[in-house]
Point group: C2
Chain length 162, copies 2
């Protein structure tokens, strides 16, 4: 394995570990658990989970890896602040979507070469990429990995039943 392949493999491992932590945390929750707020007056756990799914779903077109699976999650979980008047998806549905989206990403990730990781993502123009070649697929992978941990840190504040 070359150094560039090993660097990518290490980064994919960080992606997997971080998402496995989120999976362990959210997948253990019941519909009732998901209604808990992370802090008084702050987002509920269900919003964080739906938000992570929506953000990861958007990575498919952002990285040029395929069509979105669940664009319907944008309005309730990404583009607008949490609206508790909306009906909540069930824990089972969220788990299904989470696995579907993360599975599609991981399958696509495993086929990218190091050089392809360094190509521009689809939201950057050729001109802007010329100026800043750090706006590549790899940067999206890493920033989305830290983003998962951002919300795990919040979700971890909820005292759950053991």
């Amino acid at each position: 394995m070359t150094a560039e392949q090993m660097l990518v493999k290490t980064a994919l491992n960080t992606w997997k570990i971080t998402n496995a932590k989120a999976d362990k945390l959210f997948s253990a929750l019941t519909d009732a658990d998901l209604q808990a707020e992370i802090a008084p007056g702050k987002n509920r756990l269900i919003y964080l989970w739906g938000h992570l799914i929506a953000v990861h779903d958007r990575m498919l077109p952002l990285l040029g890896l395929g069509e979105r699976r669940h664009p319907e999650l944008d309005t309730p979980f990404l583009l607008e602040a949490e609206n508790r008047a909306l009906p909540s998806p069930s824990a089972a549905d969220l788990k299904k979507w989470w696995d579907e989206v993360n599975g599609a990403l991981l399958t696509a990730f495993e086929h990218l070469t190091p050089e392809e990781w360094l190509e521009p993502h689809t939201a950057v123009s050729a001109e802007d990429f010329e100026k800043n070649p750090l706006r590549n697929r790899f940067s999206v992978l890493l920033s989305r990995a830290t983003h998962v941990d951002y919300h795990i840190g919040q979700a971890a504040l909820v005292n759950r039943r053991n």
Copy 2:
């Protein structure tokens, strides 16, 4: 620039961006602000900041990049749960230590080659590294970047004065 150099440069950029976010958040806080809890009964902001400094300080020996600058932060901010009976360092001291530790890391990071990023960190044995070559310096960099965002997510819950 080779692909492997570009992958490292992209990862270092993620490290810098994440730490710049933390810097912007914490450096703006007064001594009084730092006493705020992230949620009722949870850690105070001062603990999170001291904790990040201690964790980053430990990266110096963990990555074989030098001696620790502030081992005295371990007991109050890392090894034990928050103890509010202890005297608090000032915001000015925390900012000084944060800049010192992150500066030392960044200077050292900029000198590592891609191959050196793939070398084992100092907490893994030769035998274990043989079994799992992902236990390299690069994995520590990435997992510590996500760790910063974990605590930024928590700190962001505090309603600060604008």
